[in-house]
Amino acid sequence: MAVDFTFLTRVAPALAEGLTNTLTLAAAAIVLAAAWGVPVVMALLSRYRTVSGLAQAYVEVVRNTPILVLMFFIFFGSGFAGYPLSGFVAGLIALVLQNGAYAAEIYRGGIRAVSQRMPEAGMALGLTPRRSFGLIVLPIALRNVIPPLSNQGVMVIKDTSIAATISVAEITFKARLLADSTAAVFEIFFTLALFYLAITAIFSGAMRLLEWRVRIA
């Protein structure tokens, strides 16, 4: 079975048309999800039972719902409600809602992983609980969360492909159109996989670099 790899040069330009949409959707979703995770984790760790209970319920609902279902729900639901959102916006909201919940859980884990003794030591030296958290716990916790956040970012990049089902013209969408017109499915999806591999490799490489730059030597 001789495989002709020249198809890459034919398929890649067609897929590249969707690259802007994939990259903007992924970047916006990663940044907004990381930001949305902050109020969620604050609610999760709240002293008030109702607040933390509501946050817990939110996290469970969006974490345990497939992203495809969330996207369909928001995209078609907004249409039925009379305020049709574009596929891009609906996809972005779904990605942020779900990954914001994951990010909150990651933040919670990062904070919990810092030994309780450390802020206690800070308070013993006269820091207020708030400053003890900000000066001692947070810097360690932030370093803790980089690897899992990076992991989650890779998930977001891959999940942007699901937005193709709600008419977002990103690279998977282009690949499907091309696959239907040429039926050269394996060549096209092989090239598509290379695109995702390149994007995620660059992203995880950057995150590794960040992890290394902020390491506690």
Partner: protein, 303 residues
């Protein structure tokens, strides 16, 4: 680092073995050019790739069962080939998933309201058509349009399936419309129903079916294409299998199995299929209900 290298080497050798395996199996099939048809008979089961959301051809009913014209035709083929319409397995695919389903060998044949186009015929082998088709527009009544000309407006959105024929037709007939694109007919329909799109384009019988079952939607009287043919498709290069399937289609549409085919046709479309022979149309009309004009949009029977 060393461990990583070792792992890489192990993976590389595993891939090499896999490659050798593929080559070896390629040689084996080259030596014995057996037809997939023998395999189907030996297996005693026909595997068919189809849709599950394209009424009235292949869709899921309220009971969750796969039903439709294509499904009944597929079962009838299984009965003619293996003696029992139950000796069949359906593989559900989406629009672009039809081609790898047969080309990879996952399914023997595909029956998925699939229109024959020359560019498709480069990659899969089609039988002759088993039903005429055309392309119609399903539109929301609240858009208040009755012609293609009125619909061709930048304030309206058209829902397309992920295939290039849709894009070509939209550019030709409705170039001013905005476009959204989906991979299943169910999503097309939901887009129009939810207001994400004003209209959708799909095979005429599918449009008629939706229009009949949804008071808020209607079919435009104009069509976007002439008569087209929907056919059975399979992996190219297997002449024995293709010949059997093509013969079967001929037997159904104009030969010994015409009466069974007519029963299925009447069950789903409420009218007779095109006559067995165009020159015998008068005779057919004399014995049964008037034969419809070819490709006249069949009025689907409400179930």
């Amino acid at each position: 680092m060393n461990a990583l290298l070792r792992m890489g080497r192990r993976a590389a050798s595993a891939m090499l073995f896999a490659a050798i395996g593929i080559t070896a199996s390629g040689i084996a099939t080259a030596q014995a050019p057996a037809s997939r048809l023998d395999e189907i008979v030996k297996r005693d089961k026909l595997i068919v790739a189809t849709f599950n959301s394209a009424p009235p051809f292949c869709y899921t009913d309220e009971k969750g069962e796969l039903v439709g014209f294509d499904i009944d035709v597929a079962r009838f083929i299984a009965k003619s080939l293996l003696g029992d319409e139950g000796k069949i397995e359906f593989v559900i695919v989406n629009s672009e998933g039809r081609w790898p389903a047969v080309n990879s060998g996952r399914a023997d044949i595909g029956l998925a309201t699939t229109t024959v186009y020359p560019d498709r015929a480069l990659r899969v082998a089609f039988t002759r058509p088993y039903i005429d088709s055309s392309v119609s527009i399903l539109v929301r009544k609240d858009a208040k349009v009755t012609t293609l000309k009125e619909l061709n407006n930048a304030k309206f959105t058209l829902a397309n399936l992920t295939n290039p024929q849709m894009v070509d037709r939209q550019k030709r007939f409705l170039p001013n419309m905005k476009v959204v694109t989906f991979d299943t007919i169910a999503s097309l329909f939901t887009a129009v129903k939810s207001g994400q799109a004003t209209a959708l384009q799909i095979d005429t019988p599918v449009v008629n079916w939706y229009a009949l079952n949804n008071q808020d939607l209607m079919a435009l009287p104009e069509t976007l294409a002439n008569i087209q043919g929907n056919a059975i498709f399979m992996k190219p290069g297997d002449f024995t299998l293709w010949l059997w399937m093509d013969t079967m289609v001929n037997e159904m549409t104009s030969g010994s199995r015409y009466s069974q085919y007519s029963d299925i046709y009447k069950k789903w479309f409420g009218t007779n299929p095109p006559p067995q022979r165009f020159y015998a149309a008068g005779a057919a009309a004399a014995t049964s209900a008037p034969a419809p004009a070819r490709a006249a949009p069949a009025a689907p029977k409400k179930k």
